[in-house]
């Protein structure tokens, strides 16, 4: 009773403590937008805004799956490698021009897409098996999966480049409807679906509770292994979809073309304020995180700045987000 009163009496400070992880990213986003708008006349335009959305759309799809994984206090380092392998798998199942000398098993477009998605599921199941059944920490297990996915990519393309994909994917990856790129629409659909599952379904509640206190979830009769295994599969499927759209978006499928996506996806989730310790945050945070990253990457191109310095700046932004993330957690645990 008394303690309850104290929480209330804390007032504004308590709210700020509680909401630090949500407020800080929004504040960062506003500062960046204001800064770049002042620094470059070409930044704050409708065209450029669509540009930014388009630039983050592929990352967004990966980040949806990663949000699920990080909410359970696990991590998936294989998302970009799986996106790459799945994109290349799609090319493998599509008839390539004769001059492209790679492994090729041309199939009907729909079948190719279904089989490719199944590949993503298999990647996810292997990770889930390693983490939940064998008990390998996800950090190490997904590091191995990253290497395995890269190996699959290497074997399939053998240093070559593939160009053809099923029509549906080509459309989604390259075309627009009502002036909005399909990749943005797909990303928004994924974000919306992810938000819905996390906030309004029983499964979503189990994800938050498992991340919040795994032991307590287990003692409450939640099948914790299933929850963790399933988010890893969801992570792989999101990566797979992103990989398929991205090869069409890029116009080619080749080794190592997703290298920056791992860091970007993790950064988007963490910068947005989802707790690395699980149980706090969500898709709303991830959206803000994506926009912070998108504005930063795009804005730095609009101002005259050493392109090598950009890498350093991104690193520093990520570091500050990590500090806030850990600090917010500590404040909560104290309070």
């Amino acid at each position: 009773m008394q303690e309850a009163g104290e929480t209330k009496a804390g007032g504004l400070k308590a709210v700020l403590t509680d909401q630090l992880r949500n407020i800080a990213p929004v504040f960062t986003l506003m500062v960046l937008v204001i800064f770049f708008s002042a620094a470059s006349p070409s930044f704050f335009t409708a065209d450029n805004f669509m540009n930014i959305l388009s630039q983050v759309s592929i990352t967004a799809i990966i980040a949806v799956g990663l949000t699920f994984v990080i909410l359970t206090a696990e991590i998936d380092l294989s998302v970009a490698a799986i996106a790459n392998a799945v994109g290349i798998t799609l090319a493998y199942f599509t008839l390539q021009p004769e001059y492209v000398n790679i492994a090729n098993l041309p199939l009907n477009g729909v079948i190719a897409i279904v089989l490719t998605l199944a590949t993503a599921v298999v990647f996810g199941l292997v990770t889930a098996f390693g983490v939940t059944w064998i008990g390998i920490p996800s950090f190490i297990m997904t590091l191995a999966m990253m290497q395995i996915a890269n190996g699959v990519s290497a074997l399939l393309v053998r240093g070559q480049i593939a160009y053809n994909y099923p029509d549906l994917i080509t459309t989604l990856g390259t075309e627009s409807v009502f002036g909005i790129r399909w990749t943005i629409i797909v990303a928004v659909l994924f974000l919306a679906a992810g938000h819905f599952v996390l906030k309004y379904t029983r499964y979503g509640r189990y994800i938050y509770m498992t991340g919040g206190n795994r032991e307590a979830a287990e003692y409450s009769g939640v099948n914790v292994k299933f929850i963790i295994g399933s988010v890893l599969v969801i992570g792989a499927v999101c990566s797979g979809v992103a990989g398929m759209l991205a090869v069409a978006y890029f116009g080619s499928a080749q080794q190592n073309q997703f290298d920056t996506y791992l860091l970007d996806a993790i950064a988007a989730v963490v910068v947005g304020g989802t707790s690395l310790f699980g149980g706090r945050g969500g898709i709303g945070n991830t959206i803000v995180g994506l926009l912070v990253l998108g504005v930063l990457n795009n804005g730095l191109d609009h101002i005259q700045i050493d392109s090598f310095l950009k890498i350093l700046i991104r690193g520093l932004i990520l570091l500050s987000a990590l500090i806030i993330n850990v600090y917010a957690q500590r404040l909560r645990e104290k309070g």
């Binding site: 009773m1 206190n213 009769g221 939640v222």
Partner: protein, 504 residues
Amino acid sequence: MSAQAQGGGDVPPLLELSAVSKSFGGVAAIKDVDFRLFEGEIHGLIGENGAGKSTSMKVIAGVHSDYDGVMRVGGRQVRFRNARDALDAGIGMVHQELSTVPDLSVAENVFLGQQPLTRFGTVDWRRINREARRLIASLGLDIDPTTTMGALPVGIQQLVELSRVLFSGARIIILDEPTSALSPPEVKRLFDVLRKIRADGRGIVFISHFLDDVLEISDSVTVFRNGRTVASGPATGLSKDEMISSMIGRGSIGMHMGESAELASDDSKPVVMEAEAIGDGKMLRDVSLKLRAGEITGVYGFMGCGQIEFARAAFGKIPLQQGRILVDGEEISFRSTADAKSRGIAFVPENRSMMLFRSEPIYKNVSIAILERIHRLLLKPDAERSITKTHIDDLQIKTQGADMELGSLSGGNQQKVALAKWLTHLPKVLILSEPTRGMDVGAKEDVIRIIKKLRDQGVAILVLSSEPETILTLADRVTVLRKGVVAKEFSSGVLHKADLLSAA
């Protein structure tokens, strides 16, 4: 020997406490404690949990420095400011939870933190191994000092820790529950070692709940009750019954709540869940137990007797290595706690934080175990809140509402929330580990009332506790566990606290 322990006119005691008192926040933990330990003496220390044994030993070991009274070591008055001072004065302690490092070798453990160095400042391995071998052999043990600690049985690890204390030069050695995890042959070996140490003229304080062990090894015995030393004298001629009545207080039998109870078991009630000779491969062996609908089965035993493991095995948290579990006569093998829950089994662990989400609202804590009953796919938070509201009223949980964060509740109210999780739809079996530990009187009575009401509603309840009062207050039948096996079962008649203490 007892003559020396008692006499001591010319030889000052190795260690002496005179009228030592210590309180925490105005509450006296120990009061006017007198205690004397002589050279070449093994001194047994007995008393119930909370009787003041640990506090007294912490004063001796320098953990508490602000006490009243006088402590003398070898006749000289001392006041230790910290544990280091006590070590320097030759006082060493072996705790119930060993502080050995399992990944290091035996020799490294013996010399932990005080490795001899060579002229070049590197660790002198030859000397470490040689000295460790000598020291261990002097205790009559044959262990290769290069063996990894973790590969040895607990009994041997304990002896290695003991040799570390000896090596550090301790003249006064305090052993806290040294036999609780040991098998009979291991106990015998420990006693052989202790007699060797005694022959060196050192003094040993032997704290234990196992009265037979105390009687066998001690020269003298001191009994603690309610923070005071109520009896002290030679062990010769002392009986276990005398020790127990001195521990719980003569004449008080049956006078207070929880001192004794009339068991009300009823074999005609249907068996809901049954454990047949189950074991976890470590702590628990061959434990069989039947839980009946509408009955509270109590499992009593000292800490570390296996009741924690038993509760977890019955809830599917740890896998069985032997035996089987039957629910409604059907053999079940739980792959997860979710399996156990779907069979109607509910569990509240001894530590609340293990099953509660501190920074989530109360209603999410309550609903997590019953989400699938409230909604098929989509969440209905309003339904969760109204269910929680009902529990808050029924269990008299003191809070401003279902949306309050769980961490804002007091301990007793958190315990009620932990119970509430399982009360919306009555479980078939409710397993409660230490359901009232650390609660204030009011909350304790509430919880006892709730548990009894559930029993009357037909739930089969298993209460596991190391507090005799809890068992006596609640149980209709009692099983006593001792070192992982069933020591005794009580199902009818009047059961006294002394019976429990004597059986465990």
